[in-house]
């Protein structure tokens, strides 16, 4: 299974892999918002948690349709399905590779963008923490959406429509952690709920994703 993770990361890094695409998108959104809203520090600081989380969510969405589509087109998915490895393991590794190339990268880059959004100093740590805890759920849920839509022509848009509503709880609690953190309030409750969503999604969705893949491969 590690072999699959290593291959996916390597494919992501090489030309055409799309690594850094989500990161660049995150950066551009976070730069555009202050330009549109205006240079008023107070306003920006107020909307920063929400904007940063929405931007992270959209950046994650950008690379979702590639998770299975490329493997489906070149036939690797059929071959992986007949390999001595459960499909549940395949989808877990795919989600992990997606998280490392997008979620983890976004988490690490977020303090720089928080600076552009004039996030209050107390919120930085909580922004990184909430992204680190919340983005794995985005990758796992997105992998499920990608498994449902694999093989469809122009499945990318349908994938977005399917997945975005499922991202709502993560968005609410993720942004809430940052907002409370920035205002110096207690963050434990939303952070625990965020972690709960991630843990639940990671525990259950690989089975659903594998089942969806099995049906789509027929």
């Amino acid at each position: 299974m590690i072999a699959l993770l290593v291959r996916d990361l390597r494919l992501g890094m090489r030309a055409g892999g799309g690594f850094g695409l989500g990161l660049a998108f995150f950066l551009i959104v976070a730069v555009l918002v202050p330009l549109g809203v205006g240079p008023e520090g107070q306003t920006l600081a107020k909307i920063a948690p929400g904007i940063l989380w929405v931007a992270a969510l959209l950046a994650c969405l950008l690379s979702l349709d590639r998770i299975f589509a490329l493997d489906f087109e070149d036939g690797s998915l059929d071959l992986l399905a007949t390999a001595p490895m459960p499909l549940e393991g395949v989808v877990t590794m795919k989600a992990l590779a997606h998280w490392i190339t997008t979620g983890l990268a976004l988490t690490l880059a977020s303090p720089v963008l928080a600076l552009l959004m004039n996030l209050p100093g107390a919120g930085y740590g909580w922004l990184v923490a909430s992204l680190a805890v919340g983005t794995p759920a985005l990758s796992v849920i997105g992998t499920f959406g990608a498994a449902l839509t694999v093989g469809l022509k122009r499945g990318g848009l349908l994938l977005s429509l399917l997945v975005l509503p499922l991202y709502v709880p993560t968005l609410i609690f993720g942004a809430e952690v940052v907002r409370r953190g920035a205002e110096g309030q207690a963050v434990l409750t939303p952070l625990l709920l965020l972690g709960g969503i991630t843990a639940g999604a990671a525990a259950l969705l690989p089975f659903a994703s594998a089942a969806a893949l099995r049906i789509n491969l027929r």
Binding site: I2, A3, L4, R7, R10, L11, R14, A15, G16, G17, E73, D74, G75, S76, D78, L79, L80, A81, T82, A83, P84, M85, I215, L217, R218
Partner: protein, 209 residues
């Protein structure tokens, strides 16, 4: 080791294409499937490989023993020849990459990116993957597409070596690979009868099988 297929029926897109297919294959034997386009060769091979459920009948085969090679080779364009093979070797837990490169005459191309290979070279790489799986039953769907005469002979030799080592091969092909010892199964007589009224009543059930 034995592969036994009894009274198998399989469907494509919910429409039955083959029914009553039965044969058995033992170590060291090869079976060539023949039939016109659309008769259901690919569907039969996908059913045997476990990628889709059978409508009826049974397939008796030892677990984790099949290596499936489809029309698509499953190659990653930005990885080199040796990286592609090494990935599959690690997935299947074997260590025969070098032997596979030599057997399929890919030694000189080992560090070439797969996107720069010709169609025939890609095919050879796709077939070399069979050797690194280390599995005894090869299920091959049109393995000779885009191969030249020499490469077909090379691959026939590889299949022969696999059979001699106690393996089995199930090959759907239109051309004569020169495997004179292989049995031939014509799929024409197993074509599924059209249901009266056109549609197929159980298509909905099949989706939840």
């Amino acid at each position: 080791m034995e592969l036994t297929v009894t009274d198998l029926a399989c469907a494509r897109g919910g429409v039955p294409v083959l029914e009553g297919v039965g044969f058995s294959l033992t170590s060291g034997r090869a079976l060539v499937l023949r039939g016109p386009n659309g008769i259901g060769k690919t569907t039969l091979l996908r059913t045997l490989a476990g990628l889709q459920p059978a409508l009826a009948g049974a397939v008796s085969v030892p677990p984790e023993s099949m290596a499936y090679a489809a029309h698509a080779d499953g190659l990653k364009a930005v990885l080199t020849v040796v990286e592609n093979l090494r990935f599959w070797a690690r997935i299947f837990g074997t260590d025969t990459v070098e032997a596979a490169l030599v057997a399929m005459n890919l030694g000189a191309l080992r560090d070439r990116a797969a996107q720069n290979l010709s169609a025939g070279q890609k095919r050879r790489l796709g077939l070399a993957r069979l050797l690194v799986t280390g599995r005894p039953i090869w299920v091959l769907d049109e393995p000779t597409v885009s191969l030249d005469v020499e490469s077909v002979a090379l691959f026939a030799g590889v299949v022969r070596g696999h059979l001699a080592a106690g393996g089995m091969a199930l090959i759907a092909t239109h051309i004569d690979m020169g495997l004179t010892e292989a049995e031939v199964l014509e799929l024409g007589p197993y074509k599924a009868k059209a249901r009266p009224g056109g549609g197929y009543g159980g298509a909905f059930d099949e989706a939840f099988a």
